[in-house]
């Protein structure tokens, strides 16, 4: 086992970190505790709390047939039961690891959103921030943790840009250094602010050289203050980002390829924006970004109005869920296929899930005691269903997995041990447990 100092020395020597301190002071050094399979996470977040009973966890007993109009099929070699609303993911059943026994979520949206992303430590730091803190940046020229929202041009179907319940707190750095918080992309056309410059490269290079020379007196007076040298490096990184970020976010070449358009569903209205964002997410993880969060968007309700995954009534179930599934089914299946083709599948973890489940009192009510997430990619056993809910599908009863356990498990797949991962002595809740049964 190498310690942090040795690791730093070795990587600096081999040039990975030699280019500078990267996105920020914190989050550039790797603190890995064991070799982890997962290098990046793409999280498709279903805003509003998706109903497990309509998607990936068929209830054994149905109280009100009006609320359960959809059929489930056994799919693939594994025979996992998946709703007919996911025809593309049904074909990928043997890749999915369904976690049907999630519990410990909060049954209100805003609090639930904060809790499901930050609930594992008292620092209030989100999962992506912890991952970046522990693993270090995978590409110092790009932000390490990205929230992708927005709609592409020509999308006349989605009704909002997508957001995370709980707002900035759900994707924040909490008590970790603030530079670890998610970089929010609001406009897919113009993702990072101030990348454009009026000066030519040569002028900027001269200017940066002058800046370093001007700061040198100040820096020489305080050789022990690390911030000063990292500040100079941050200008160099910014300079490199001016070229790296537009390149990473530029999908124009890929969308010309008809195969890619088909794979991610970039032409049909329902999948246009989601497909583009997942394609972008793949480009980002390919370039070393650690955590990409893609929230679901509001979709039209077939019976009038619009919905997100907060489907309480028979109308929203019948009219809303098919469209919500349509938006993500094809692009997610395409993403898995694309990751496999590019050899990224083994080091990327794709997650689908929301801030809570549904069921319990009032049938389709908010439910923190049972929810389903699925994962696919490096780190998880494919083609299994972990745990189970009770007869009605409301409460996790078999092998229950707490929200905190999910965090600990994902971090474990990344090579991080939640017992050891601490910032200023503060780390994860003692009750966190790694779910060994789903690890590949």
């Amino acid at each position: 086992m190498i310690n942090r100092r040795q690791f730093l020395k070795s990587t600096t020597a081999s040039g990975i970190l030699a280019t500078g301190s990267g996105w920020a002071n914190a989050g550039t050094e790797s603190l890995l505790h064991h070799p982890g399979k997962v290098k990046s996470v793409i999280f498709y977040y279903c805003r509003g709390g998706p109903a497990q009973g309509h998607t990936f966890d068929p209830p054994k007993e149905i109280e009100n047939p009006d609320l359960h109009p959809f059929k489930f099929q056994q799919c693939g070699q594994s025979g996992l039961e998946i709703s007919e609303l996911f025809p593309h993911l049904q074909k990928r059943a043997d890749d999915l690891c369904l976690i049907r026994s999630g519990y410990g979520a909060k049954a209100t949206h805003a609090e639930g959103g904060v809790h499901v992303f930050t609930g594992a430590s008292s620092l209030g730091a989100s999962l992506g921030a912890w991952m970046l803190y522990g693993m270090g940046s995978g590409n110092p020229d790009l932000p390490g943790y990205v929230l992708l929202t927005g709609r592409v041009e020509g999308d006349k179907w989605a009704l909002d840009d997508g957001a995370v319940h709980g707002g900035p707190r759900a994707i924040g750095a909490g008590g970790l250094p603030p530079s670890l918080q998610a970089q929010v992309i609001r406009d897919l056309e113009k993702p990072i602010a101030n990348l454009g410059t009026m000066d030519s490269k040569e002028i900027q290079q001269r200017w940066l050289k002058e800046l370093a020379a001007m700061n040198s007196e100040f820096t020489k007076r305080h050789p022990n203050v690390d911030e000063l040298s990292s500040r100079i490096e941050s200008y160099q990184t910014a300079y490199r980002m001016q070229t790296a970020a537009p390149e990473a976010f530029d999908i124009s070449k890929e969308v010309e390829n008809s195969q890619m358009r088909k794979r991610y569903g970039l032409d049909p209205q329902p999948t246009r924006s989601t497909g583009t964002k997942l394609l972008l997410a793949r480009r980002l993880v390919e370039r070393g970004v650690r955590f990409v969060l893609v929230p679901s968007m509001r979709t039209p309700n077939l019976e009038g109005g619009s919905v997100d995954w907060d489907t309480h009534t028979a109308t929203t179930v019948r009219g809303g869920i098919p469209n919500l599934c349509r938006a993500c089914d094809h692009p997610l299946a395409g993403l898995i296929e694309d990751l496999k083709e590019r050899g990224l599948y083994d080091q990327t973890l794709v997650i689908w899930g929301g801030e809570m489940g549904r069921g319990g009192a009032g049938f389709m009510n908010h439910n923190g005691n049972g929810f389903t997430w699925w994962m696919a990619g490096g780190g998880v056993k494919p083609g299994i269903a972990w745990g189970a809910t009770d007869e009605l599908g409301y409460t996790a009863v078999e092998n229950p997995v707490h929200v905190r356990d999910l965090h600990a498990t994902i971090l474990w797949m990344c090579g991080l041990d939640h017992h050891k991962l601490k910032h200023n002595g503060v780390g994860f809740d003692d009750s966190c447990q790694v779910v060994r049964g789903i690890l590949s």
Binding site: N194, E202, N215, N224, Y235, N424, G425
Partner: protein, 338 residues
């Protein structure tokens, strides 16, 4: 029913369920006057909200003080804030000792950038052990003796030898400066950065944050880039991050440092007319760093101009000066305290 109607009906239901008096909303003309009868009747014990939902209030929970502090617990009436204040500052009590220690520790942190006990939220077993507990205790004892006077506490700290030390490190002992033998070099917080840039741009000080922000077009971006905490979070210490997005903001954003540099240059050129370069340079340094440039810096600035002319192949007094001011504004001395 209208949306507002539904809302008010819902509020009515909550009040009925809780047995709460509604707010008395009669407007009084003079808002500066305190009207006790306008204080909502239900300031007092709160109800347990089932699963945190205001729609499901449960039993009333009586207010009180943490019992582990021991001592007599006073009867509470009204809002209870006065009782809380009295209880917290009760002489010779455990809670007042903790309050005084926590307070002087935070005052020290605000003045030095680091606290005596590095975990200001946790002064007990869960926190770090301070290197100089006697210093905290001494300050705390004098703070209480002075009648909890914040002013005399701050005066004592800033008049101390420790506060007046230079930030230059001599020798190689105590790299982390745990013993405060020198001052810490630290980055300014958002508001001082705004103050500095706004006053450089206009050449005057501002009386209010609102007036200041109206002078800087990109004012809202500074909070985002320079770690201003949000109102959602309780934090015990502000962080000073260093990010490339900060650098991009200062380098490229036309309404930030670039604009400030342009305005300062224009003002100085207008004032000094045909003054020579060195004279203008000293005005720039005076405005930006409140000191005249050193010999070395004058030489550097002249070199800067020469190198620029060589690259662009043209001479342009305004652009040259503008670019140099922009450079100064992006440098460390503007936003770091020595």
């Amino acid at each position: 029913m209208t949306l507002a109607g539904t809302q008010s009906l819902r509020n009515q239901n909550i009040r009925e369920k809780c047995g709460l008096e509604p707010y008395r909303l009669e407007a009084k003309a003079d808002k500066r006057q305190f009207y006790p009868e306008l204080v909502p009747a239900f300031v007092g014990d709160s109800r347990l909200l089932k699963r945190g939902d205001v729609l499901y209030p449960d039993k009333r929970i009586a207010r009180g003080f943490p019992e582990f502090f021991g001592g007599e617990l006073p009867e509470l009436e009204g809002s209870g804030r006065l009782h809380l204040a009295n209880w917290l500052t009760e002489s010779e009590s455990i809670q007042s000792a903790l309050l005084a220690r926590a307070f002087v520790n935070r005052a020290w942190q605000n003045l030095f950038g680091e606290a005596l006990c590095r975990t200001p939220k946790e002064l007990g077993r869960l926190g770090e052990t301070p290197e100089m507990p006697e210093l905290i205790d001494g300050l705390a004892a004098r703070f209480v003796k002075s009648g909890w006077s914040v002013k005399s506490l701050i005066r004592e700290i800033v008049m101390s030898d420790a506060y007046q030390q230079s930030s230059v490190m001599s020798g190689d002992k105590d790299a982390q400066n745990r013993y405060f033998a020198r001052q810490n070099v630290r980055r300014l917080q958002t508001e001082p950065i705004l103050n500095v840039l706004a006053s450089i741009r206009r050449g005057k000080r501002f009386v209010s944050p609102a007036e200041r922000d109206s002078e800087l077009l990109g004012a809202i971006h500074y909070a985002k880039h320079f770690d201003s905490p949000t109102t959602d979070d309780l934090i015990e210490r502000r962080t000073a991050s260093i990010t490339p997005s900060q650098a991009l903001f200062l380098m490229n954003e036309p309404t930030a440092a670039r604009q400030v540099a342009g305005d300062l240059t224009r003002r100085i050129l207008n004032q000094s007319g045909k003054a020579d370069f060195t004279e203008m340079l000293s005005k720039v340094y005076q405005s930006v760093l409140q000191r005249p440039p050193t010999e070395q810096e004058i030489e550097f600035a002249e070199g800067f101009v020469q190198r620029r002319r060589k690259q662009t192949g043209a001479e342009n007094r305004v652009e040259e000066m503008k670019e140099f001011v922009h450079l100064l504004l992006c440098g460390n001395e503007v936003i770091y305290l020595e």
